[in-house]
Symmetry: C2
Subunit: 315 residues, 2 copies
């Protein structure tokens, strides 16, 4: 038996056939073109399902269920998308619409939640009964797994790690609050802190790598410069890592999962990121002599979206 996983992003719709162990057997994708009416997007999802069924040599009888990871909030009982900023979706009956094409159970959950679930099935947190997966990208998201099952909250509005307050009255956030985690632990935060730092240190390697144009500074440049030992970049990166270590400690103090997993674009900094954050963590741990969550890098990369969405049907 196999599971269909759909990763609905703002740019692409990626669809795959996934086996019970979380291996992708076949996959395809198509541009999202999010400005279209939603039935057209759903029609494209159904088309992709047909394509991957052909590619994988499977029939409808082989399919247990369809799972969809969305960049927003889902009502899992009703099978609707409550809210999806990037797509401009509000209360979209996604399950009902998708079942017009293929009559299988349809599960919907947040994209960070399903990415975390994927790591718990087939990635670094495989075998962990509880984990928190953190996506460090333009923003900061999280996928929580408890007792082996994804947890998006009683009302579906949980796992919004990026919008927990880290600094009361801190940097204003796009969500309307101030001092959100996302303003200190994202690629966007690294860029903001680097631009500020380069005002005082225009000879930083950051500026050189950005062609002396502050607008061209991105997180990768800052990380490369920090790896090369540039003073300004090291200071910016350490500050970012400090905020991330405090956030990780907050997760430990509150939920204490078996493992905390770092994913998303910034996690491509790899061992450099892991070593830096691990070095700062003990400073913040409350019970320094007791076991605490392992901190690891995500393994699955972009495929986590398809795998995790598919695995929603295994719950």
């Amino acid at each position: 038996m196999v599971y269909i996983g759909i990763d609905l992003g703002g740019t692409n719709i990626a669809v795959g056939v996934v086996d019970e162990k979380g291996n992708i057997l076949a996959q395809t994708s198509t541009p999202t073109l999010p400005d279209r009416p939603y039935p057209e997007l759903v029609k494209d999802m159904a088309g992709c399902i047909t394509t991957v069924m052909d590619k994988g040599g499977i029939t409808q009888d082989d399919i247990v269920s369809i799972g969809v990871g969305i960049p927003g909030v889902a009502d899992q009982k009703l099978g609707t998308v409550i809210f999806c900023t990037n797509l401009g979706w509000h209360n979209i009956p996604l399950r009902e619409e998708l079942q017009k094409y293929i009559n299988k159970p349809v599960y919907i959950d947040n994209d960070a939640t399903v990415a975390g679930l994927a790591e718990s099935y087939a990635g670094v947190s495989a075998g962990c009964q509880s984990s928190v997966f953190i996506t460090l990208g333009t923003g900061v998201g999280a996928g929580i797994t408890i007792n082996g099952k994804p947890w998006s909250g009683a009302h579906g509005v949980g796992s919004e790690l990026g919008h927990m307050t880290l600094v009361v009255d801190g940097v204003p956030c796009t969500c309307g609050n101030d001092g959100c985690v996302e303003r200190y632990c994202s690629a966007t935060a690294i860029i903001r802190m680097a631009r500020q730092a380069c005002l005082g240190c225009p000879k930083s390697l950051i500026m050189k790598l950005a062609g002396n144009d502050p607008d061209k500074i991105d997180a990768r440049i800052v990380i490369d410069a920090a790896k090369a030992g540039d003073n300004t970049a090291v200071q910016v990166f350490n500050r970012f890592a400090k905020y991330l270590a405090i956030t990780i400690n907050n997760i430990t103090a509150f939920l204490d999962p078996e493992m905390i997993v770092l994913g998303g674009g910034v996690s491509k900094a790899g061992q450099f990121l892991l070593d830096n954050v691990r070095a700062q963590l003990p400073r913040y741990l409350m019970y320094k002599n007791l076991p605490s969550p392992k901190l690891e890098l995500a393994k699955l990369g972009n495929e986590a979206g398809i795998i995790g969405a598919a695995m929603l049907g295994r719950e």
Copy 2:
């Protein structure tokens, strides 16, 4: 069938016989006298069990299990107390020691966790599958219930809400970190903020109620003065309520439980506290138009410790 619940505090050991619905059928208590060797404390616990069995007219055959709520960290698998600052306990084999007196299953968990469990069985959050119970006292603790079961974390070091960072580089905390929730949302925090505020406003009603002795200011005085409309007290209380609202929103953004319950000494401010925090919450909610956790006052008071400890055996 009945359950024995033991609330092990720094001052008293309270023991009760509890039925399946969480009603206390008989109870007793004895001073903890924490400086004694632990076997003596356990002997007193066993003595209290005999007393409540007599009082309740029950035999050993009626007892399903014994639960103990401790002010510290337990290893639930081994049945040991890992860590208990107030009692000076480290790696105490509590289950083994207690079973020398009465051979029943023994469950051990954190006191805030069991108080939250009690509210979920017989209190305000009865029927909720997920809840976070917050104790607002000298410090700040929490009891997390997920899928109807208590959650203390994968390593037993979770639900330490009071030691999540709320303000990076904020007020130094007794735990060694800076800016912990406990430094802003406890009775201790109210007292600190009130003393500071009274330096500039020595004619505040707070000072009058404290006999013009800043050392005599306590949380109750500040709350009474705020209820009476004293400007300084209202400002202090609103600031406290703001920090608490942000903390509550952090719980919502991350875990999104069905209900968040306010307990502990400061919650005796009752509706005045609830109204103030509820009024500040919408400002911080990310999804202002979606359902979010209910905020309520705890119902069970001091008995929550016995009831929740007893209910550990129902899991």
